[in-house]
Structure formats: structure tokens, C-alpha cells
Symmetry: C2
Subunit: 332 residues, 2 copies
Amino acid sequence: MTTKQIVLTVRPIGTPTNNNFKIEKIVLPEIQTGEVLLKGLYYSVDPYMRGRMNDIKSYTPPFAIGQPIEGSVVALVVDGKSEKFNKGDLVTGMLPWRTETIASEKILHKIDLSQGHASYFLGILGMTGLTAYFGIMRICKPIAGETIVISGAAGAVGIVAGQIAKIHGCRVIGIAGSDEKIKLLKEGYGFDGVVNYKTTKDMNSAIAALCPKGVDEYFDNVGGEISDAVINNLNFHARIALCGQISLYNSEETPLGPRLQPLLLTRSALMQGFIVSNYRNEFAEGITQIAQWLKSGELKFTETCIDGFDNLPSAFLGLFRGENTGKMVVKA
Amino acid sequence: MTTKQIVLTVRPIGTPTNNNFKIEKIVLPEIQTGEVLLKGLYYSVDPYMRGRMNDIKSYTPPFAIGQPIEGSVVALVVDGKSEKFNKGDLVTGMLPWRTETIASEKILHKIDLSQGHASYFLGILGMTGLTAYFGIMRICKPIAGETIVISGAAGAVGIVAGQIAKIHGCRVIGIAGSDEKIKLLKEGYGFDGVVNYKTTKDMNSAIAALCPKGVDEYFDNVGGEISDAVINNLNFHARIALCGQISLYNSEETPLGPRLQPLLLTRSALMQGFIVSNYRNEFAEGITQIAQWLKSGELKFTETCIDGFDNLPSAFLGLFRGENTGKMVVKA
């Protein structure tokens, strides 16, 4: 059968554009034993995917030129030669950006709609929620009464990270880039303090004013000068979880900034990069806890849903213009 | 009685000189109950003291202008009104740079010469040894077969840190600044690889060549461009212990360098600043273990001893010119 796919045409230099992508039609091969035919329902677009567009060593291999982009997808099993999955099952997995695709049963996980809406398995009940959970719980290690700053606070992971810190009794300060997002964090999610980095001239003073007792924990999705301002206000024994560096992903050269080591040294501070798969063996714990918080109403979730498979590239590009509030997904 | 003391005259801008210090005579007050009169025997000079010469927030308060410099000292009790210490006892403590001084019994610790030579309590059996021990054991967490790089490897802490990593089966690479030090590390201390940063043009390639499997652990005493080269070669899940940043202590402005967060993020790497007193409650464990390694011959120790109380400032200044091999002390 014929399917549509979206491939990487050339590696972007700096910020990607629609020219880095091409929609094309291909013919799928026969289904082999242990494989299923899937119809994509929801596709995840995530900032980390920008890294895979470069030809450099990272935690995941780069996308190949002429090959489809790959990401988290929720899909319906429409046919197959599998003993593990039946027609009508809903599954998630790392899958190519195709309207239909054939995949090995080994890379798929069945999802249970009683836990949440299908698209939630790309977000709060998937990598997004788990990333926030493990970054906060294993690296920031929240302590009631401490102050935590979240950059990219209105992003998919940030909005969850802030709430988890709040559940643990932290004073939560969010940094975001529009008044609409700022309002949402404050009124919709109960953040204790918020700052719009786009309209704030002196971020250093703004953070100092919002964190009169200093910054004990920093959950960083953004990097760059926003992080410089937060790190200047670090307390002794502060913990920084490096979750993302979206402000730098499109840099063509290694960006320069103040050397951090003297400050981390004198404050006995910790900085830890992580990727959610480091905690693979603990996912069950995370999902159970998140589902419980969702049920109790302690945790709320926002997603931005864009309609139409063909809009995947522009939804992805929108991440770098801050067009999403919460998790960004595309509905086929 | 009259004693000599060395005071801070003006705060240095950049590298300190002899002009930042003055030797003067003062008259000591009467000994009060709970106090002892001490005669200084050995004085420690340490890179961290440069930080206390600035008027900025750090883990220890700044030295006051017109007041004596303070550091670790081994001293003899020559008189006192103390039930804790007797005439003839040897003690250590944070004490002013004075030939004689009066101190409260509360800030002194008795030392036992059966564990090692008196000056060792400023080094391998004191802060130096414990700093190496806890930086390696609690932050680098050595694993047999992994590669560790030590910067400032021929310095007081570095030389011990490298040996402790070696005891745990690591491949140990040392960075130092003279051929004499390089030879000592290789031949005297069994380092697996060494590099002289003063004569090496491309440190990045030099580290890559010495660490063909990448860098798993980095014990950093130096910072700056030397660290950039090491960090470029980090492996996934690498651990960096920030023990010192001597290359930057004399900087007048915040030095700029490559932003590290993207690299720490993609390698899931950890960077942790520390000061030995964070592990205060575990000192007994550390001293016992170090004493055992010294006894078994697995751990060796070097010190550079300068004669004469009046030479304290120039011994201190010598640290920044790399004049010490191992721990630098001054004998009164």
C-alpha cells in the first residue's frame, strides 16, 4: 500500500525552515511475522529533535538525509502478523513520520485509554511527564520551603515540572516568553512568581526580586542568558537539572558565556544533564505517581494540538517561535 | 608577650603580590579560661585563600583588611588555661598567621604523631587528603576500567586524588605544568598518562589521544581552557568534581568560555562543586581509610616545605606560579 512520509532533505544551518522537509509518497513492503501495520493518530513534536537534524554525536543518532523524521507517535493497529497486538489496539512507539507504517511489535507499547486521552501518551503519561518527574525527583530533589526556578515554564515539560515541585511544597518561579503564558502559569497552574523574559531588561534583578531567599533548585529547559541570570542567584547546595537548552539548539557555533565553574564551586552546587531514558527502569513508578496526581487533580495538563499530518514540519518549527503552550502534538 | 603577624594590607586586583601583605608586631592579650597560647610550627598555604582576599560572598567570609591572614596551622601548646589541652600537645586549627597566638580550645584538634609527621596534618591527614578522598569517592565515584583525568595533578590535592582513583582501578591521566612534575606523576606515582599543558598546543587532541575511550571522570583543580579540552572528551554519564579553579582565581572580570550546558545535557553528565567541609560528618571514615592506604604503601605523599615564617606570603604567591609539587607548607 501507499503511504505519505515526511523526510529530512538537507541538514539545517541555524534555525530550520520548511525547506528542510519534504512530503513524499512511498509504497510499504509486505507485513512480516512479528510486525503490524499502523495508522498514525497523534505525532509528537519536541525540541530535542532539532539535535537529531545535526550530524553530531548525541544521545540519539542523527536523522538520515532522505529518510523520514522519527518521533513518538500514538497509532492504531490496523493489520498485522503479531501475537502481541490485535487489530484495534492503540500503541505508542518511536516511529517514522508516516501516515501509515509497518513496525516490529518489539518497539511498541500498548496504551490503556482508561488512564487518559490517546494524545496524553505523548505527553503527561509519556516522555513529557516522565521527563519532568525524574528531573525534579532525582536531580532537583525538592524540599518544602525551597525556591525552584523553571525556565521554559509554559512548555510541555516545564508546566509539569513546576506543578510537581509545587506538590512538594516548593516556592515555584516560572520564566516564559509571553504575557499569555505568564498569566496561564500564575492563574491556571498556581506558580508563585512569574517573569516574562522577553519584556524584562534585567533578568538578574528580576530573579533576585522573585527569589529573595535565593535559588535552591533550577529546572532548565532553555539555557543561554536566561540561565546566567538564574545561576547568579544560586544558593549553597543548589541543584540544577539540565533538561533542555532550546535557546542554543539553533546556534551554528559553540556559544560563549560566563564560565560557571567558579560559581558552582563556591556554592557547592550540582549541575546534572539527563535524558528520560536514564530512568527507564523506574518508568512504572513515575507513571503510577503521575496518574495518581492527575486523578486527585493536583496535576493539570495542557496541550496544543495542530490538525493535519502535513502540518508536522510547521508545528515543529513553531516550537522555536514559542507557539506552543504545554505539549505540542499533531493530529493526523 | 609580643608576636609577629602577617596582615592583608589591600585587596589584590588580579594576581596578588608581596605588596598585599605586611609583617608587623603586636602584643598578645592575657590568656583567658578555655584558651591556650600556641607556637606555630607549620603553616598551610592553599589556593582557596586567594578567594578570601576578595570582598565577595563565598563559602568562607573574606579576610579583613589590616587583620592577619588565616589558614590551617599545626601548633604547639606552650601555655594555657584549658582542661582539654596540656603544655606540649600538638594541635591543628584555623589560626591567624602569627608566630604565637592565643586561641580558644574549641577550635583546636589534637593530633597524634603516630599517624604521621606533624606537617602531614596540613596535608594528607588533613584537608588536602580529605578533599581528594571525598571528591573522588562521593562525586567521581570511581569504577574500575574507567578513565579519569586530574587537572593540577601534581598539586597537593591532585596527587592524592590520582592515587585514590588508581587504587580503584581507573586509568589515570594527569595534567600538570612542567616536565619535572610530569615525570614525577608518571614515575613516582604511576599515572597512566600525563600531559604538560604549558608545552602542548592542542590540549583537546592531547586529551583525546590519552583517553581513547573518552573521559568518564574529571577531578578539576584548574578550570579555564584546560577544562574545556577535557570536557570536550566527556563520555555519557561522566562525573566532574569541581575542587578548584586556580586558573581563574586572579581574573578581574567574569571569564568567558564555551557554554557547557548543551554538552553536559547530551552526555547526561554531572558537574558538582564541593568543599571538604560538606563531608564533615564523614571525616573519621576518610582519615581511617587514608591512614590505611599510607600504611600499606598504596598511597604516597609529597610536600614542598619552605623555611621561615616571613616567607609565608611568597610561598602563597608561588602557588600561582606552580612552584609547589604536592602540598605546600611553611615551617616556622
